[in-house]
């Protein structure tokens, strides 16, 4: 009797249900969203560009692009409601792009929505585009159904193949909100007619993009930042015999930092470790049985990496004036006042930073 009554209640609840059930075929599946800032005489506006696959077999195109505008990012949803024939499965968003203009003006107004809406995954990958995101997202790639999949693959796989920063939403938020941290995002550019590439990294001072650095500098940034990646380094050196050797090293990086305070200013010693093998050695050096040659190649690489790192640090301290290499992490743990009471980036510019590189060549390949 009692159980039956309770059962009735449950049935009543369940059978009148299905409020939130949304069939997949009533939804657009946006993989990539791009935010842009549009400034004109009327003031500033945001636009959101989404690209999504069209799943209907009768559709002429296999992907579609929608551009919606609004006063704020969330306000673009009103526009979307009018323009879109289907709901948007926001949970499926895998990549968010910031247009160059927007990033330079500061992404503060954009990220609130992404952080607040619980449907956004925190594994969303972020990137800045060299041009407006609309220009990137309207590209029609040959090998993908949508440009969205192309961008996802690019951002997911590139950090596995070369030294490129990879910033998920979770890390981005951590870098934005934690005192002494600054985010770094990869930059997506166009090459050829309609092909995408990673064309460097965007340095942020909190919400605001400060500058863009080249791909070579990006590698140094990744080593210094200590984000563990895998990639290739090309370098050449002249050995004792006077021969110029060109070697490409492929391997993995890691870092460790020693920090101390001297006369009120921090002194950092960054150990960059590289571990890998020789992928190519033009004008073949003999490695078989010649340990000393491997050592020479390693020393030369250490020298090269140190040079590039020091050049980047010099630029960071003098030109960009931003701590993009997460030294604030140590400062806030050891000397909280330096981070909390002062602008850490300024302190960073005055800090003494030494770079030590340690290269370990595990193997030299099949050639003797």
């Amino acid at each position: 009797m009692v159980k039956q009554l309770l059962m009735m209640v449950l049935l009543a609840v369940v059978l009148t249900g299905c409020w939130d059930a949304k069939d997949i075929d009533d939804l657009f599946i946006p993989f990539v969203g791009g935010y842009d800032l549009i400034e004109n005489a009327g003031g500033k506006k945001y636009s959101l560009t989404v690209n999504f696959p069209t799943l209907s077999r009768n559709a002429k195109e296999n992907s579609d692009v929608m551009v919606v505008e609004g006063e704020t990012i969330a306000a673009t949803r009103i526009d979307r409601g009018n323009k879109s024939s289907r709901g948007m499965a926001i949970g499926d968003l895998r990549v968010v792009l910031f247009g160059n203009d927007l990033a330079r003006r500061g992404v503060h107004d954009v990220v609130d929505l992404i952080f607040r809406d619980p449907r956004f995954s925190n594994t969303i990958l972020l990137a800045v585009t060299e041009v407006r995101t609309t220009d990137i997202i309207t590209i029609e790639p040959h090998n993908y159904q949508t440009v969205g999949q192309n961008i996802i693959d690019l951002l997911r796989n590139s950090p596995k193949n070369s030294f490129i920063p990879r910033e998920r939403l979770h890390l981005f938020r951590k870098d934005l909100l934690t005192e002494g941290f600054n985010p770094v995002l990869p930059v997506i550019g166009v090459h050829g007619n309609n092909k995408l590439k990673i064309s460097g990294a965007a340095l942020f001072k909190k919400y605001k993009m400060v500058s863009q650095i080249s791909t070579d500098e990006t590698a140094a940034l990744v080593w210094l930042r200590g984000q563990e990646s895998y990639g290739d380094v090309f370098y050449s050196f002249t050995d004792q015999e006077g021969k110029t050797r060109q070697i490409t090293f492929e391997g993995q990086n890691s870092r460790s930092v020693k920090a101390k305070l001297v006369d009120g200013l921090p002194v950092f010693e960054i150990n960059v470790n590289l571990e890998g093998y020789i992928a190519e050695s033009i004008d073949t050096m003999e490695f078989a049985g010649k340990e000393e040659n491997v050592a020479i190649a390693a020393r030369a690489l250490e020298e090269e990496v140190r040079r590039r790192c020091e050049a980047l640090i010099y630029d960071l301290q003098n030109e960009h004036r931003v701590d993009a290499i997460l030294l604030g992490r140590y400062a806030r743990a050891k000397w909280p006042p330096l981070v909390q009471k002062q602008d850490w980036d300024e302190v960073f510019c005055k800090s003494a930073i030494k770079v030590k590189v340690n290269v370990k060549i595990e193997s030299t390949g099949e050639v003797a």
Partner: protein, 363 residues
């Protein structure tokens, strides 16, 4: 054989206390503490555990004097029939409101993450139905389900371990840097997450081996503290205090920060296992309410009482206007909980002492 239905072992008591304590609070715990004591949230968590320990001993003071009587019975013996019944009625209401508000918070979070369009009443009814179904069973079944669910819920912590490799140890430095006052403030905020041991007022007469109640209680508190500590440490380590204090449901967000190999998003699985955890306080408190009501009314039909309490619980769960208000109510409930945990036993003991000494003089 009739008593057998409401007899539990001291081992099961451990799981019942854990079941009554760990619930929705675990989601908000880390960020709430971090707002006060930042990187030292873990210290606050440990200090906060002193509250249930104190509660355990005060409750034991009174229950050990009435080993075979439940709260409703000994409060009548001590205070007299009607005042005793009034106090029990207060407890019935407290437990029922506790169950409803916990359900409401639970449902609000579910709604936020998964069901933006589903009405609150439907979700509340669904969760309360499960709680009521369990509460209509006898204590033995309740204890067994608590025990089984504890082990099922361990999967939840496997999800936590999955994110443990993201921990950044520098987020804990400088240790103690947030100051003693802030740490204590943080500890105060943990108090609400440690409520639940007042269940002992009702279930202690059911424990088979009464001498092991204290031991079981302490083990339960240690396990609870350990789980809370795990949550707080991992949340702090993954987010850092600056991010953590700006998050609402840190534990849930942790699940969104990493991608497991096959599973694109871990949080959905997390929610499933979290349902197993979060309904338990509601069910246990519903049971406490139902059982006490049974004793007060002298009406021995668990099923009918459960059904009678159900609409009341459902309505209470719909009272808060939003999640904020529900959380606010839960902290008010928390004070009542502390009252039942610390003050009521002492008060009852005092009255008993006065009565006995008066009686002694007369005699």
């Amino acid at each position: 054989m009739k008593n057998n239905k409401n007899v539990i072992t001291s081992k099961q008591l451990i799981f019942m206390i854990i079941g009554a304590t760990i619930g929705v609070g675990i989601l908000t715990l880390a960020s709430t503490i971090a707002r006060e004591s930042r990187q030292d949230a873990w210290i606050s968590t440990i200090i906060g555990a002193l509250l249930p320990v104190a509660g355990l001993f005060t409750i034991n003071l009174i229950t050990s004097r009435y080993p075979d009587h439940t709260f409703a019975e000994f409060s009548e013996t001590i205070l007299g029939k009607w005042p005793g019944k009034a106090l029990s009625l207060l407890f019935i209401l407290y437990a029922l409101i506790f169950a409803s508000i916990v359900t409401r918070i639970f449902v609000s979070i579910l709604k936020m993450y998964l069901f933006p369009m589903t009405p609150i009443w439907a979700l509340s009814a669904l969760i309360l139905f499960v709680a009521a179904y369990l509460a209509s069973q006898d204590a033995r079944v309740l204890a067994r389900v608590n025990e089984l669910m504890f082990f099922e819920a361990l999967v939840l912590f496997a999800f936590l371990i999955g994110s443990a490799f993201q921990i950044d140890l520098t987020f804990f430095q400088p240790v103690g840097g947030s100051g003693l006052l802030n740490i204590l403030k943080g500890a105060y905020h943990t108090a609400f997450s440690y409520l639940g041991i007042e269940l002992l007022l009702v279930i202690s007469p059911m424990v088979r081996n009464k001498r092991e109640i204290i031991k079981a209680g302490l083990i339960a508190i240690i396990i609870i503290t350990f789980i809370y500590l795990l949550v707080v440490v991992i949340s702090t380590g993954v987010f850092g205090p600056d991010v953590l204090e700006r998050l609402r449901f840190a534990l849930m967000v942790i699940q969104k920060t990493y991608t497991a190999p096959v599973i694109e998003r871990a949080e959905f699985f997390f929610i499933i296992f979290w349902v197993f955890v979060a309904f338990r306080p509601a069910a246990n408190m519903y049971f406490a309410s139902r059982y006490t009501a049974q004793k007060v009314l002298g009406f021995n039909s668990p099923g009918i009482l459960t059904v009678l309490l159900f609409p009341l619980a459902l309505i209470i769960s719909l009272v808060p206007r939003n999640l904020e208000q529900a959380l606010h109510y839960s902290s008010i409930i928390g004070f009542f909980g502390m009252g039942f945990m610390l003050m009521v036993p002492v008060f009852l003991l005092l009255v008993r002492f006065i009565r006995m000494s008066l009686g002694g003089k007369h005699g």
